[in-house]
Subunit: 326 residues, 4 copies
C-alpha cells in the first residue's frame, strides 16, 4: 500500500481506503465491520469513509463501535463524515434535510461526534451542493468546525468546479480554513467531472480527490450482465434508482470486453477497474465498498495491477469504455 497526500495538504491517505456506504447496518453488522476494518488496516489502509446519512446514522454508530473494539491509537487512522441530507425523514424537516445552512451544520457535527464517540473527525464533507444557502455561510460553518477543534480538514462531494472554486476564494478572502478535497464519483463509465471539469483545480488550489463507486455499483464486476442477482445491492429498496443503469446493455457488453483484458493481466474485472482509477495521479484515494471480507480482499489485489496498465493497455480500455462514459 502506498500513501498519497490528500491534494496539496500534508495529510497522507492510503491509495485504497474503505467506505461504509450502502453496506454498514444493511449488509454489514458490527462484527463483520470489525473483521473487515482490521483486515483493511493490516493491508495498510488508514482512511475509513463515512457519512451522517449512511443508514441514517447507524453507519457512524457501527464505525464508532469498531474503533472502540479495535482500540487503535487515534493518530493512526483517518475518519470522515459528510453533511447535507440530514437524518430527518418525516415530520418537520425543513432546515434539517438537504441543506448546508449554519443551523444544520453546527448541529450535525455534534451529532456525528456523539455517534462515533470521537473528539474530532479528520475529514468533514459537504455531501452535496446546496443552491439555497450562500457558499459563504457554508464555508464559515465548515471553517468554524475546524477552529473549534471538531474537525481537521474540510471538503466537498459532488460539487461543481465553479462552486468549489468559489468556496476556496471566499475562504482565502476571509482568512478562513480552505476546502482541501472533493469526493466525486469516478469510474470507467463516469469520467468527465474528474478529468475535464476539475482540471484546473488541481494546480490552482491543490484539490485532492477521494473517489467513490469504483465499480459503478457492481456494474464493473460483470455481475449484472444476466440481470439483477439475488442479494446484490440493486435489490435493496433504497437502491432501486440504480437498477436501470446497472442493466444498460452497451455497458454490460463493454464489461465483457474488459474481461478479456483482465484475463490477459491475470486479474479480476474489479481489480482492473480499481487499478484504472488508482493510476490517475489526481486521485488521492479510491474508496472501496465491500459487504464481505472476501470481496475486500479481492479488491485489494488491484494494487498489484496498477503497474501493468501500460499506455497500450490504457488505450484499449479507453477504446472500449470512453464512448459510453459520462
Amino acid at each position: 500500500m502506498q500513501y498519497r497526500r490528500l491534494g496539496r495538504s500534508g495529510l497522507q491517505v492510503s491509495e485504497l481506503s474503505l467506505g461504509s456506504w450502502v453496506t454498514y447496518h444493511n449488509q454489514v453488522d458490527t462484527g463483520a465491520a470489525v473483521e473487515m476494518m482490521a483486515a483493511a488496516r493490516d493491508a495498510g489502509i488508514n482512511f475509513f469513509d463515512n457519512a451522517e446519512v449512511y443508514a441514517l446514522g447507524k453507519s457512524e454508530e457501527i464505525m464508532g463501535q469498531v474503533f472502540r473494539q479495535l482500540g487503535w491509537a487515534r493518530h493512526t487512522y483517518i475518519v470522515s463524515t459528510k453533511f447535507y441530507w440530514g437524518l430527518a425523514r418525516e415530520g418537520v424537516t425543513v432546515n434539517f434535510q438537504n441543506t448546508l445552512n449554519r443551523k444544520y451544520l453546527m448541529q450535525a457535527i455534534d451529532g456525528s461526534l456523539k455517534r462515533m464517540q470521537l473528539d474530532f473527525i479528520d475529514l468533514v464533507y459537504c455531501h452535496r451542493p446546496d443552491p439555497h444557502t450562500p457558499i459563504e455561510e457554508t464555508v464559515r460553518a465548515m471553517s468554524d468546525m475546524i477552529t473549534q477543534g471538531k474537525a481537521l480538514y474540510w471538503g466537498t462531494s459532488e460539487w461543481s468546479a465553479a462552486d468549489i472554486r468559489a468556496a476556496y476564494e471566499i475562504a482565502e478572502h476571509h482568512h478562513l480554513h480552505k476546502p482541501v478535497m472533493e469526493q466525486p464519483q469516478y469510474h470507467l463509465f463516469h469520467r468527465q467531472r474528474v478529468e475535464q471539469e476539475y482540471a484546473r483545480l488541481y494546480e490552482d488550489m491543490g484539490l485532492g480527490l477521494t473517489t467513490w463507486s469504483p465499480l459503478a455499483s457492481g456494474l464493473l464486476t460483470g455481475k449484472y450482465r444476466n440481470g439483477i442477482p439475488e442479494g446484490s445491492r440493486a435489490t435493496l429498496d433504497n437502491m432501486s434508482w440504480m437498477r436501470e443503469q446497472l442493466q444498460d446493455k452497451a455497458k454490460n457488453e463493454a464489461v465483457t470486453k474488459l474481461e478479456a483484458i483482465a484475463k490477459e493481466l491475470g486479474c479480476s474485472l474489479a481489480q482492473l477497474a480499481i487499478a484504472w482509477i488508482n493510476r490517475n495521479p489526481r486521485v488521492s484515494t479510491v474508496i472501496l465498498g465491500a459487504s464481505r471480507l472476501s470481496q475486500l480482499q479481492d479488491n485489494l489485489g488491484a494494487l498489484a495491477v496498477t503497474s501493468k496498465l501500460t499506455p497500450e493497455v490504457l488505450q484499449r480500455i479507453d477504446d472500449i469504455t470512453k464512448p459510453l462514459a459520462d
Copy 2:
C-alpha cells in the same frame, strides 16, 4: 404553510410565525402558550419570536418552559431573542438599558440562554439602534456571540437602512459574521421603511425581513372602530402610548372600507391584512401575535387568502390605505 429563506441566508422560516410580544406573561400563561405553540407547529410554523424585554424576561422563561414541555427536537424549531432595552427598570441602569454596548450585549445573551434553558439561540437581534455606541462595537459583540456558538445568525430591528448597511460593511471589512435580517414594523398603515427605505438592501446584502405588528396592534381587525374594548391590549397600562393611534378616525374608516373587500374574498379583516404582508416577496415571515388559540387559528387562515390578492384587489387596497400610511 410555505417556507422562505431568511433573506439570502440558508435558513428557512415558515411564512407565518408566532411571537410572544405583549401576550406572554400578561395575557398568556405557560399552559396557554403550550396550547398555542403546539397548534402553530401543527400548522407548520417553525419560528417563535421573543425578546429579552418582553414581560421583562418572563416571556423568555415561559417559552423555555414550553420547549421543555413539548420536547421538540432542537433542530426542528427556530427561536429568537432581542437585546437593547435591558431588564433593569430602577436603580443603577446606565449600561444596562437602551444600549448596544459590549458590556450589555455579552451579559444579555448569557441571561437569555439561561432563561430559555437553551445552548444556543437561532436568531439574535439588536432591538433598536443605539446612536451612543459605535456600530463596530455592536457588530463585534453580535459576531462574537455567533463565534462562541451562543447564536447562529444576527440582525437588527427598526434600524435605518444607513445603519444596517454600515453594520454589513464593517462586518465584511473585518471578516466578522454579517447581519442577515431586520425586524421592522410592517402593515397596511406602515409601509415606507420596508418598501422605500430598505429597497436597495434586499439585493445588495440579501436582507431578510421578519415583520411585526401585522394588524397594527388590532386596528386592522376593526375592533377599535367603536373605542377601546374591554380586555384588549390597548387597555394594558404599558400600552397606553398606542391608544390615540388606535382610535384614529380616518384609519378606522379605511378599515370599514377594507371590510368590504374582505367580505368579497370570503375572509376576515385580519386575514386580509396578514395576507397583504405575506404577498410581499421581500418578507421572510410575518410574525403573528395572539392572546387566544382561536385568534391564532383565524390568523392562520390568511394563508388561503394570499393567492386571492390579484393586482386589481391590491390596487383597491392601496387606494384605501396608502394615503394614510407612513
Copy 3:
C-alpha cells in the same frame, strides 16, 4: 452625577469615579472600602479603578471582597485593572516585571480575575509603555483577553500619543480589538499630555480618558503648604519620591491664590481642582482617591462646582497655574 461615554465606546462611566491606588491595604481596609464604595455608588459612581500593582495584589483582593459583600449585580458596575509592573519584587523577576510581553499578560489577567473573584474585568490597561516588547505583541495579547471573554475593553496608561496611535493602527490592520481609553495623570499642574500631545487622538480614534491624581497627590488641597503633615500619603515609605514636588514653593503659593477663588465660589480647594478637570469634555471620568469617607464626600461636592467655572474664572485659574504646569 452624570455619565459620559468612555471615549467613542458605548460604555458610560460616571463623571467621577473611585480608585484604590495608594489607599487600599495601606490606609483603607475591607471595612472602610465597603463603606466608601457603598457611598460612592449611592452618589452615582459606577466605575472603580484598580491595578495589579496596587498594594501588590492586595488592592484587587480587597475590592473583590467588597463586591462580594455588597452583592451588586455584575452589570451595574465597571471595574478595571492594569498590567505592567508585575507582582514579583525579588528572585527571578525577568518576564514578570516591567513588561507587556505575551507571557506576562496572559498570566496576569488570570491572576487578577482570581484575586477579584470575577469572571471578567471591564477595563484592562497596559499600565506603562514597554519599549522592549513590540506593540503588536501587546496588542494581540490585550485583544485576545477580550476575545476569550476575560475582559471587555482595553486601553493604556501613560503611553505617548505615538504609541497609542500605533496600537490603534496595528489592531485595525489585523482586525483585532482596538484600544479605547488612556489613563493619564491630569491636574492643574500637569496638562501638556492631555491638552496638547493627545489632541488629535480624540477625533481620530475616539480616545477616552480616565484621569488620575486630580489633586496632585494632595498638593492641590493646600495641606502641604506648611510641610508634610502626619499621616498623609507623603509619609508612606513607598511615596517618598513625591515629597519634593509636594513642597514646591511656587506651586504651594499658587495653591493659596486658588484658595481665594475657591472661597468666592463657595467650595473647597479640592472641589475646585476636581471640577476644573471635570469641565474638560475630553475627560470621561475623574478618578478620585480617598483614605476616609469624609474626604470622598467632600470631593463629590465638586459636581456642584463645575457649572460655576465660567470663562472668566477659568482664565484666572490659568493665569495662576499654567506657568507652573508641565
Copy 4:
C-alpha cells in the same frame, strides 16, 4: 547572567540555557535533572529546552517531574518543545512521523502538555521543515495552538531562510501569530546558516535564535582528539551518525590550536567555544547540554570569557576554524 530579548519579541531569555537533548533519560535521570536544573536556575538560567522526540517523550516526562518537584512559579521559567519526528517508531506511522501536518501537530501539543503536566508551553518549534505539507497548513496549526492558549510563541528549527520568511509572510497575510525564533545548529565549525543565510531575517522579521550544539557534540571540548572515549555520547547507539565527524582530523587539530588561546584567556576549551557563540548579538540564548553537574558548572564559566573575546582574539579564532567550517 544577562537576559536578551528572544529576537524582536518581548520575551527575555537568559543568554545561556539548558537543554535535555541526548542526556535526559539516557544519561540523566529525574534526580540528576533536579540537581542540574536547580543549579542552572541559581545561576540565572530561565529557559529549559525540550522536544517531543528527545528520548521519545521521556525527556518531557522527566522535565515535567522536575518542575513539580522544584515547585517553581510558572511565570519564572520558560520551557519549550518541538514537533516533527513524532513518537511512533513502528506500526502505522504515516501522519505521525516526520510531518508538520495539522493532524499531527494538533495531537502533538496535547501529548506534550500531558507529559509535562503543564497548562501551556512557552515556546513551540517546528523541529524540521516538512516539504510535504504546505507552509500555510503548518502556520495555521502553530498559530491555533497560541490562540487556544496552549502555547505562547512559535518558531522553527533548522528551516531554510526562504521557508522561515514564507511562514512569516503567510502569517502576516492571514493575520495569524507569526514565527518568532529559529533553533539552528551554531558553533565554530557550523556558521554559514546563522551568519549568511539568515542575515536579512534579523532585521526584516526580528528573528531570534536559540542555538544548539555549542560544542559540536563534544568535538570542541577536545575529548575526541584520541578517539571515542568510553561513556561519551558518541558511544550511544542512536548517535552513531556523528562518530565520523567527531574524529575529523583537521578539526581535531584545530581544536588543539584553540586550546592555546583558551589557555591564554584562562578558560577551558568548552568555555571558549560557548563564549564565542554568546558574543554574537543575533543569538538570543546558547542552549547547553550536560550529563553531569560539573560539566554544566564548567560551561557556565563561559559567561566570564565573552568580554575577553577582543577583535584580535576573534580574528585568531577565525583563522583557525573558518576554513574548516560549513
